[in-house]
Structures are given as structure tokens and as C-alpha cells.
């Protein structure tokens, strides 16, 4: 691969890995945990905020109210004069400090106080007001936030008592900032943690998945790798491995038994056939018994053929024979097939034609694929009435090589589509047409060996069988030899 292709490949792998983690239930569980944790932390921090910033707020309110109580006392005892003198005294002590006083007359002109103008902000029902202090601070150049209470006195006079809350607000902002960051960091750490945790779990689950897939493809000898930590994943893997060993042993014994039966029956059948052949040679050619011997030989051969077909399907299904796999262009192969069967179709007055499309490479067993497609074409010829049209076609669709055999015969009812692949199943119950009922079973076994999918479609009228192989890039001889060895 060239460097950009390599980078692209690595990127695609990374992306698919990330997608797998995002889809995993562990990650979703962890995400839910992050949300719950985030909510708890938010509530906790909210309480902290309320108890700190809120405390400072209440403190300010209490200070203002204490000052108001002092002024009100003075006003009640000594009257307006006492009030103004007390305010002037306090202002003189600290002209631009934390306390704010302003007494105005009915035209909003200042009577006494350390504020120049009555603030334009409107007080609420209790007389509380938030306003801005302009030209404030030691140099009278700053603008501060303040809070206070407004009272109406006799004679249209109005009094504002307040406090500079700039430092308070700054502290409150600081606390809020710290708490928000705290929440964000908690969430980020939790997310990262859950990502790492689920990546680890996904990796171990993927190992189990990968092994299962390989086993389903026929390699029963595969086992799930153990991490050696002895955790519950290892325990699960060990249990699965023990189960696989048991299945493998059972399957081996079943295969052994069926192989033995097939072998044990095949051998005497072959001997029977051989003896008949010797017998036939002894008989003079004119005798009727010779014809009988020939017919009996043909019967024995038919039985042997069925046995061989059964054994062959079993062998292919066990998925153990990929050693003959090679890069294979299906175009010429199907063309050969059509050429081979065209005279047979012509004998039945059928039109068998080939449709191709450039190169159609797969990685497969040449003879097995040919055998499977032969069975399809043979079926089409057998079940399509004279005058019918049969078309064998090879096409490329994305990453798939599609091989189709289509006829305009009676077709197969959709209800039977899954059954036709069963061994010895015949659509024609009367069994009037010759055949063993093993043809499509073999096609399916070959398709499975090649990880190809097979579909029966309605050709309207007739049957269209489609096999979709994975497309292969034709390789050099050396590369395909190594691939065949490792397959």
C-alpha cells in the first residue's frame, strides 16, 4: 500500500473502532453514569454556591438593614435635622466607602449624602433597588454595582441607604467560575474514563466476537484468547472455550460416524459394482442377462453418486477445504459453462445465452464454483419447457460480483424458497424428473464456503438465482499463492 492509502486505511480502522465503542452497551452505560454523576455534582456545587454567595448576599442585606435601623432611630428621636447630621457625619468619615447615603427633596435635589444624583433605576415593592455608582472609588473614576433600600419621609423627602457590592459580585463571579470549571472537569474526566473503560471492554468482547465469527465460518478449532488476569471475562472465555471443545468433539464424532457409514456402505457398493462388471464380462453379448447386468451396474452407480454427493456436501460444509482457493475471473468461467451446456439446451430447443461485463475477480475454488453453477444451469435446463430462454450472467455491483442464472420456466413458489436448499428436497413431489435433490444443497454449501450470499428471485415468469460473491482484486501469482497457503 502507498503511504496515503495506508493512512487512509488506518483512519478508516480508527473510525470503525470508534464507532464500535460508541455503539457498545458498556459505553452507553458509562455515558448514563456520566450524566447521573454530572447531575449529582451539579446539585452539590449548586448547594455550595447557594451557601457561599447567598451568605454574602444575606450579610449585605443585614448590614443595610442595621444601618437603616440606626438612621430610623435617630429620625424618630431627633427629627430630620438629626438624620441629616448623622448622614453627613458618616459620609464625612468615609466619602466614597462601602456605604452609600442619599437624602433628596421632592424635586430629587440632594439634601445630604455621598451620591450626586438619585439613581434612575426603579425600586421594587419593598423599596429594594440595584443601581450603579458612577464616578466612584478612591479616584472617583470607577463605576461600581450597589444595592440599597429606598424610603419616603415626610415632606416629599426620599432616603436611599445602600452598599457598594462590587467586591461581593467579584467574589460571587469567582465562585461561580470555579464551580463551573469544576463541573466541566468532572464531566470530562468521567467521559474519558468511561471511554477508556469501554474501549477495554469492547476490545475483549470483540476478541470473543471475532472468534465466534471464525468458528461460524467453519474453523471449529479456534479458541477465545484469555487475558490471564483471571477476571470474569476470562471466566466467560474459559467457559465458552470448554463449550467449543465439547461441540468440536461432538461434531468430530458425528462426522466420524457419518464418514464411517458412508465409507462402510460405499466400499461394499463399489465391490458389488465391480463384481457385476466382472460378471458382465463373462456373459455373452447376445444374452439378455448382460443387459440386466448393465442396468444393475447403472443402478449401483446412481447410489454411489448420491453417496458421493452427500459426502462431498458434508466436506464442503465443514469449511475445511480452502486450500484450492485462487484468484478467479468468473466471466470466462461462466462463458465456458454456457459453451459447455449450450448444445444440451439446444437439444431441448432452449436458448442458453451468456451476459458478461469485463473482469469479475473473486477468490475461490475454480472447480467448486464451476460445479455449483453447473447445478444451477442444469436445473434451469431440466425445469424449463422447450422453447424457453435461459440466461447466465456475470455482473459487478459495488464490492460484489453477482452471478445470475435466470430462466422463464415455472419457477419456484416463494413459500418453498428456503426449503429447496434442504438435502433431498424436490419441488416436484412426484419425483418424475431425474435428480437426487442434492443439487441446490451443494450450491448452498459452495456459496457458504465462499462467504457468498445466495438468493432466489422471481424472474416473472421463471426463476432467477443470484449468488453474490465478494469482489477480489486480482493479485500477482506469488501473492495469491501465499493467500492460498494462509487461507
Amino acid at each position: 500500500m502507498t503511504p496515503p492509502a495506508l493512512a487512509l486505511g488506518a483512519w478508516a480502522q480508527l473510525r470503525s473502532g470508534a464507532a464500535r465503542i460508541l455503539r457498545s452497551s458498556t459505553f452507553r452505560l458509562a455515558l448514563l453514569y456520566v450524566v447521573l454523576l454530572g447531575a449529582s455534582v451539579a446539585i452539590l456545587l449548586g448547594f455550595i454556591y447557594w451557601s457561599t454567595a447567598g451568605y454574602m448576599d444575606r450579610q449585605t442585606t443585614a448590614t443595610i438593614q442595621a444601618e437603616i435601623r440606626g438612621l430610623a432611630e435617630q429620625y424618630r428621636r431627633v427629627g430630620l435635622g438629626g438624620l441629616t447630621s448623622l448622614i453627613s457625619e458618616r459620609v464625612a468619615r468615609d466619602p466614597v466607602g462601602s456605604s452609600v447615603y442619599l437624602l433628596v427633596d421632592d424635586r430629587l435635589e440632594r439634601v445630604v449624602g455621598n451620591l450626586d444624583r438619585w439613581p434612575p433605576e426603579i425600586p421594587d415593592a419593598q423599596g429594594w433597588i440595584r443601581f450603579r455608582l458612577r464616578e466612584w472609588g478612591p479616584a472617583r473614576a470607577e463605576e461600581h454595582e450597589a444595592r440599597g433600600q429606598v424610603f419616603s419621609l415626610r415632606g416629599g423627602l426620599r432616603l436611599l441607604v445602600g452598599r457598594d457590592v462590587r467586591d461581593l459580585e467579584a467574589t460571587r463571579a469567582l465562585i461561580l467560575d470555579a464551580l463551573t470549571w469544576g463541573l466541566a472537569i468532572t464531566a470530562a474526566l468521567a467521559l474519558l474514563g468511561s471511554w477508556l473503560m469501554s474501549a477495554g471492554l469492547v476490545r475483549r468482547l470483540e476478541a470473543i466476537n471475532q472468534t465466534s465469527r471464525e468458528i461460524m465460518e467453519g474453523d471449529l478449532s479456534r479458541r477465545i484468547p484469555l487475558s490471564g488476569s483471571g477476571d470474569d471475562f476470562d471466566a466467560l472465555a474459559a467457559s465458552l472455550n470448554r463449550m467449543l471443545e465439547r461441540i468440536e468433539a461432538l461434531m468430530a464424532s458425528v462426522r466420524q460416524v457419518s464418514d464411517n457409514i458412508a465409507h462402510d456402505l460405499r466400499t461394499p457398493l463399489t465391490r458389488l459394482r465391480n463384481k457385476l462388471e466382472l460378471l458382465k464380462a463373462e456373459l455373452p453379448e447376445t444374452l439378455g442377462a448382460r443387459t440386466l447386468a448393465e442396468e444393475t451396474i447403472a443402478d449401483a452407480e446412481e447410489m454411489l453418486a448420491t453417496f458421493n454427493a452427500l459426502l462431498r456436501i458434508a466436506r464442503i460444509e465443514s469449511g475445511s477445504r480452502r486450500s484450492a482457493f485462487q484468484d478467479l475471473d468468473l466471466g470466462p468461467l461462466v462463458e465456458d459453462l454456457v459453451e459447455l451446456y449450450e448444445p444440451v439446451a439446444a437439444d431441448r430447443e432452449q436458448d442458453l445465452s451468456y451476459g458478461g461485463c469485463g473482469e469479475a475477480w473473486i477468490f475461490g475454488d475454480r472447480d467448486l464454483v464451476f460445479q455449483a453453477l453447473t447445478n444451477l444451469v442444469d436445473n434451469a435446463i431440466k425445469y424449463t419447457p422447450p422453447g424457453g430462454r435461459i440466461r447466465a450472467q456475470v455482473g459487478v455491483e459495488g464490492d460484489c460480483i453477482l452471478v445470475e442464472v435466470a430462466d422463464d420456466g415455472p419457477g419456484i413458489p416463494a413459500a418453498l424458497h428456503t426449503q429447496v436448499f434442504r438435502r433431498f428436497f424436490r419441488v416436484d413431489d412426484s419425483r418424475s424428473t431425474p435428480g437426487s435433490g442434492l443439487g441446490l444443497s451443494l450450491v448452498q454449501a459452495v456459496a457458504q464456503l465462499h462467504r457468498a450470499s445466495i438468493a432466489l428471485l422471481d424472474n416473472q415468469p421463471g426463476l432467477r438465482v443470484r449468488i453474490a460473491f465478494a469482489r477480489a482484486q486480482p493479485r500477482t501469482a506469488v501473492e495469491s499463492a501465499t493467500a492460498a497457503e494462509t487461507a
Binding site: 465391480n274 454411489l304 462431498r312 466436506r315 448444445p343
Partner: protein, 224 residues
């Protein structure tokens, strides 16, 4: 014709020996691999028929040892393994042909004869001739009694195969393997249809047929 048969199945071996003897061959027999190798290396045989699975030393081992010592006697493998990759393995080891059990004796006989013929063929031929039927392998044309016969490429290869084995039985399976180069079970007798087409071209307008059907075995092209 001297044949060495190495086969551990006694019944099968007896049957083959009897049938081969009847066909006019002198047959030596071994039931064990090492004994088979000893006989094969010392005796002067025209064809070796070896079972793949043998006690002692298996068929592949015998062939590898023989070929390594320069012995080029044609070898026909018999095998119940019946898988294409086994066939490939057998041929790679130095075998010349491969027959899967169970087989008809006629199939074995035809293949043994083909192996014998191959052993004697010397210079590559450019012209094939059977009676008045002639084939020019360079110009790729065919004529019978001076009249040119037009053949499709596949029909040409089919006729070539039959002419190279003129006077011998060629089975349907041999034709599928040699003319079409696929090892498979055709179910229908596809070959018969191709033969009848070929027959229509080379025999139809002539008094004496050359292409004969051998019942229960296959086909034969012969002059008589």
C-alpha cells in the same frame, strides 16, 4: 504391459488384478508402501497404480522417492479422499493422473492406456491422422478425404484429444478434464451432445464412421 499395483484393500486389489490381467497386463501386487517402493524401484514397469493411503509409506511418499531417484515411470493415483486439493497435491508430488474411488474399471483402463501411450510419445507431433481424417495442429485445420471440415475451437480440441488417443477408449470424465479443464460432476451427459455434434461434422457424409461409442465406458476414434 507390466503394471505394479500397490493397494492395501485386498478385495479391491484382487478385483483390479483380475480385471487388468483380463485386459492383457502382467500385474505385480503389493499391499504395503515400503514393499511397493522396493518393487517399483527394482522392477521394470510400464505403469504404477498407487493407492494414496497405504500402511508403511503412503502413495505420495513412494512417488516422491521414485522421482527423486530419477525413475520416470508413469503413476496413476487411486484415492478415496476425493477432493480437488488432494488431486493437486498428488499431481504436484509427481503423479501423472488421479482417479477417485469408487471408479468404473473402464475408467481406470482408459487412463492406464493413455499413460502408456504418453510414455512412448517422442517428438511433438504437428499432424494427426486417423484413416482418412487429418488434422494439422499448426494451421489448425481438419479435413477428411481431402474435404475441409470447419470446427469450432472447442470441437477442434475435442477431436484433437480423441485423435491423440486413437484406438483407445477415452472416457467422458477424461474429455471434461482434458478439453474443458474442469474437474466436476456434470450430472447430465453434456459430453454426449458435444460428441454427437462432432460426429455430425466428421462422420455424417461418409460411409465409414470413425467416432464410436463404447458402451459403459466412453468414446473411441478408430480407423476400422
Amino acid at each position: 504391459m507390466r503394471i505394479l499395483l500397490v493397494e492395501d484393500d485386498r478385495q479391491m486389489a484382487d478385483y483390479l488384478r483380475k480385471a487388468l490381467a483380463e485386459a492383457g497386463a502382467v500385474v505385480d501386487q503389493a499391499a504395503e508402501g515400503r514393499e511397493g517402493l522396493l518393487l517399483a524401484a527394482s522392477g521394470d514397469y510400464d505403469v504404477l497404480i498407487l493407492d494414496r493411503m497405504l500402511p508403511g509409506l503412503d502413495g505420495l511418499g513412494i512417488v516422491r522417492t521414485l522421482r527423486a531417484s530419477g525413475n520416470q515411470t508413469p503413476v496413476l493415483f487411486l484415492s478415496a479422499l476425493g477432493e480437488v486439493d488432494d488431486r493437486v497435491e498428488g499431481l504436484r508430488a509427481g503423479g501423472d493422473d488421479y482417479l477417485i474411488k469408487p471408479f468404473a474399471f473402464s475408467e481406470l483402463q482408459a487412463r492406464v492406456e493413455a499413460l502408456l501411450r504418453r510414455g512412448t510419445a517422442d517428438a511433438p507431433e504437428t499432424r494427426l491422422r486417423v484413416a482418412d481424417l487429418e488434422m494439422d495442429l499448426l494451421k489448425r485445420d481438419v479435413s477428411r478425404a481431402g474435404t475441409e471440415i470447419l470446427l469450432q475451437p472447442r470441437e477442434f480440441r475435442l477431436l484433437e484429444c480423441l485423435m491423440r488417443h486413437a484406438g483407445q477408449v477415452v472416457t467422458r470424465t477424461m474429455l471434461l478434464e482434458q478439453v474443458w479443464d474442469y474437474h466436476f460432476d456434470p450430472q447430465t451427459n453434456v459430453i454426449d451432445v458435444h460428441i454427437s455434434r462432432l460426429r455430425g461434422k466428421i462422420d455424417k457424409d461418409f460411409e465409414r464412421p470413425l467416432l464410436h461409442t463404447v458402451r459403459g465406458a466412453g468414446y473411441m476414434l478408430r480407423a476400422e
